[in-house]
């Protein structure tokens, strides 16, 4: 399993440039919002957490559709499926998701405090947002894995995978953003939505790989 993780991380770094595309897209999102909101720094600070979350959510979608496609195209997927007795397929998928998250999403999480500064957010809000991103974004990747597995036999699943995934990621977004706000605004609680967010991630850490495994198994032909 360690080997699979390493291979996927290497591939991501070497071939796709995944990390940077994500960050650049993230940057683009953050760069453009102030135009809309205008020079109102207060307002900017208020929607900062939301914009960071939306940016991270959308950036995660980039490249997610090829999560299994690439392995299918060169025949690796067959062998991964055949090894299901040794390595439970769901676990294999979990590891692949982790690798994707490490390469494509973790850099965003690390960069988010910096962007929070750009958005004039308070330190507490920045910290809370980074923390919620760290805890919440894996859920997006895990949900995405289901979409990627369902659409694996479509050579250009890109948009379709996003369409399938996005509605399902909305709860993650809601709780992520509300936890970030909870850290600064008084009546709103932080812990409750944060715990729900963690629970969602754990829930999809089980459901996502299992559902994706079922989809992949039926896709083999």
């Amino acid at each position: 399993m360690g080997a699979l993780f390493l291979r996927d991380v290497r591939l991501g770094l070497r071939a796709g440039g995944g990390a940077l595309v994500g960050i650049l897209f993230f940057l683009a999102v953050i760069a453009v919002v102030p135009f809309g909101v205008g020079p109102d720094l207060k307002l900017l600070a208020r929607i900062g957490a939301a914009m960071l979350w939306i940016g991270a959510l959308l950036a995660t979608l980039l490249g997610l559709d090829r999560l299994f496609q690439a392995d299918r195209d060169d025949g690796s997927l067959d062998l991964l499926i055949m090894a299901a007795d040794r390595h439970m397929l769901a676990l294999t998928i979990l590891v692949k998701c982790l690798a994707h998250w490490t390469v494509s999403v973790l850099p965003l999480v690390i960069a988010s405090p910096l962007l929070g500064l750009f958005m004039n957010m308070e330190p507490a809000a920045i910290g809370a947002t980074a923390l919620t991103l760290l805890v919440g974004t894996p859920a997006i990747t895990l949900i995405g894995a289901v979409g990627a597995a369902v659409a694996v036999s479509l050579p250009r699943g890109g948009l379709l995978v996003s369409v399938i995934i996005l509605p399902l990621t909305i709860p993650v977004l809601i709780f992520g953003v509300s936890a970030s706000y909870g850290a600064v605004e008084d009546p709103a609680p932080f812990l409750a939505p944060f715990l729900i967010l963690a629970a969602i991630t754990l829930f999809f850490a089980v459901l996502g790989p299992v559902a994706a495994a079922a989809a992949l198994r039926s896709s083999a032909d």
């Binding site: 360690g2 080997a3 690796s76 055949m82 007795d85």
Partner: protein
């Protein structure tokens, strides 16, 4: 160990390609699946590998060694595609499959030596010629142990020397008690192997 198929049928896109196949392959034996293009050779191999579900009939491996549970776990599958990543080096590719499938009799260097690619391990897989790629794929069979080898046109693209070498490898696998099922258009040079001819199709 014995691979047994009873009344096996395979379909593609709702259409039965073959049906009522009976065969049994014991340790040390090889089965050559032959037939014209589109007759279902690859389909049969993928059914044995557990990648497709048979349309009818039964398939089982009797006397599986303890280390493996089930047919798919005990089988190496060498399909048309090489299952290697072009941007990773040959060593990295083989190393991954070795760690993933479990360490075998040979080390990576030895396996590459067996397919006469000793000095090529550091090159990205994508830089190899067709035949060299295929040989790296064959080396994958050596770096982890599996008693059953399922080979789909294994010698496509190999030159004469590599072909004989590969025949030697297959012989070695058979004498050490393995099973080989190979789909092929070209004779693989294994004397005394059984042949299963699939029906004519377009």
């Amino acid at each position: 160990m014995r691979l047994i198929a009873e009344n096996l049928g395979g379909e593609r896109g709702g259409e039965l390609l073959f049906s009522g196949l009976h065969f049994a392959v014991s340790s040390g034996e090889a089965l050559m699946v032959t037939g014209p293009n589109g007759s279902g050779k690859s389909t049969l191999l993928r059914i044995i590998a557990g990648l497709l579900v048979q349309a009818e009939g039964m398939l089982r491996l009797e006397g599986t060694p303890d280390a493996f549970e089930g047919l798919a776990a005990a089988a190496h599958y060498l399909g048309h595609l090489n299952a290697m990543k072009p941007v990773l080096s040959v060593d990295e590719n083989l190393h991954f499959w070795q760690s993933f499938n479990g360490r075998g009799q040979y080390s990576i260097a030895e396996a590459l030596e067996y397919v006469s690619l000793g000095e090529i391990g550091h090159l990205p897989f994508g830089y190899l010629s067709t035949g060299q790629k295929r040989r790296v794929s064959i080396a994958r069979l050596l770096v982890s142990d599996r008693p059953v080898w399922l080979l789909d046109e294994p010698t496509a693209g190999l030159d004469k020397a590599s072909e004989t070498q590969f025949t030697g490898l297959m012989r070695g696998h058979l004498t050490s008690g393995g099973i080989i099922v190979a789909a092929t258009h070209l004779p693989l040079g294994l004397e005394g192997s059984n042949e299963l001819a699939l029906g004519a199709a377009s």
